[in-house]
Symmetry: C2
Subunit: 116 residues, 2 copies
DNA sequence: TTTGCTTATCGTCGATTTACGATTATAAAG
DNA sequence: CTTTATAATCGTAAATCGACGATAAGCAAA
């Protein structure tokens, strides 16, 4: 992006957007799912599980960390990654808030709005 | 982005990522919220509500439409936008699935993983 | 048809993203 | 201290994003 006007939006909107952006790539969704399934942090095993190079996986992890969804801790020569509980609490909250605002029933019958 | 390896991931992962990506910008989150609040489609009023130019808002709407989260219908000289119920049902499902996979309780006590 | 209003698209710009290989830390072990 | 393994960073390239102004397209009324 460029020349963002982020300052003009709500803090919640920005936070939610940042979280959504972090999840806005299949590889990062996959990483999150892998970390969730293993119930614990994985290290370079992620690289083995993903069709991406080590450096690319490292970048994705960096973004997930920046979004507060993942934690990393050095453990000897390797690094352990876990889901960040605090970040996911926020994510759960903000996503829930948005979904609560969006009506479950169709505003229009799936086909045509024919509104206004 | 570039040189995506999207094909290597689950269809659900890709769909979720696409939805998340669409929500990965504060302006688009704001648009969704505006459409949800008004209980109906708004047109150029979105431009008035947002700190962005008309063309930029139009682009954001295009992306939300591409993600299946928004519908647009021509109504005379203007265009009415609504939230797309079908898309939001999918979004609700996929986000719910992911959140269900992520443990609610901390994998590590917020601070240190100390895992492996 | 011409005017006027609304929205989409085009063209452009700089910044960011995705991806990779190569290199550089970092830490345990020999 | 040197080796070995792992992960992060650097540098690069191509594609995309975000934003805007300007232009085109669509439709209704005059």
């Amino acid at each position: 992006m460029a020349i963002h006007k982020r300052a003009e939006f709500t803090a919640a909107e920005q936070r939610l957007a940042a979280i959504a952006k972090a999840l806005g790539h299949p590889a990062r969704v996959a990483i999150v799912r892998l970390l969730a399934q293993r119930q614990a942090c994985v290290c370079g095993e992620l690289v083995l599980e993903l069709p991406l190079s080590q450096s690319t996986v490292s970048q994705h992890l960096k973004e997930l960390k920046a979004a507060g969804l993942v934690q990393g801790e050095v453990d000897g020569p390797r690094v352990c990654y876990c889901l960040d509980a605090a970040g996911w609490t926020v994510a759960r909250q903000l996503l829930g808030d948005l979904l609560a605002e969006v009506p479950v029933v169709a505003l229009a019958p799936t086909a045509a709005p024919s509104c206004c």
